[in-house]
Subunit: 113 residues, 2 copies
DNA sequence: AAGTTACATGCCCACATGGGAATGTGTCAA
DNA sequence: TTGACACATTCCCATGTGGGCATGTAACTT
């Protein structure tokens, strides 16, 4: 098997920086594709493709308004990421950084370079 | 360009379910590769490859002990994900789910099917 | 009806992937 | 020294990718 499809879940969909940018922009509110195209400075087909991926994992919803399509954020699928991350929250804190620095030093000495 | 390398950042490294499992296991403490191989039920080379990716993005650290290599979690790179996620926290909450349901209904009526 | 606008979809490519299988490397044991 | 053990690396393949480009489709305008 190759790499999992980007449409597999929120983890894979959000691994792409442009798709994260799109979600950032949509956090401000509903917007048509052209707005996103301008703000991102990307080709329109590219944006449409990214939006398709986001749609397939449920991170955005669409609404037709005349010849425009308004995209809207749906952050709920991000919860799976947030929940997976929670047990690691403590280990991410600054305090543990200091511990890690000490360990790094010990390791460096151990390597004896 | 193709998809970004898995070693590009924590986002891409963590998109792979097995790598998330490995981090889950390492959250309990330092462990040799063989332990992980048994717990994951994967082929040893596969585990080594995944560990390599995690190492390259700084999510794990290694320490040699005889003929074994002890891997250790370093959760710090996860912070970039956690921080990107933070602005969406509110939008993930249950309360907004209810709002979304209402919006879904309105949208369904609007579509007039 | 014809043109334009706003998107979506299709085809192409270079590229990195996850897994399988085999092999390499370093450490300990007998 | 020879063998077993613990890992890492290499080669292979099928697959899905992001981007560029061209085309399709629906809605609005004139």
């Amino acid at each position: 098997m190759a790499r999992a499809a980007t449409t597999t879940d929120a983890f894979n969909a959000v691994a792409e920086p442009r798709r994260r940018q799109i979600l950032d922009l949509l956090a401000a509110g509903e917007r048509p594709v052209n707005d996103l195209v301008e703000d991102l400075g990307l080709a329109q087909p590219l944006v449409s493709k990214h939006l398709r991926v986001l749609r397939e994992v449920g991170l955005v919803q669409v609404r037709d308004e005349g010849r425009r399509r308004l995209y809207r954020l749906d952050a709920r699928p991000l919860r799976s990421i947030s929940e997976w991350l929670r047990p690691f929250e403590q280990a991410m804190s600054e305090r543990f950084d200091l511990m890690d620095d000490v360990i790094q030093e010990l390791k460096a000495q151990e390597d004896g370079r």
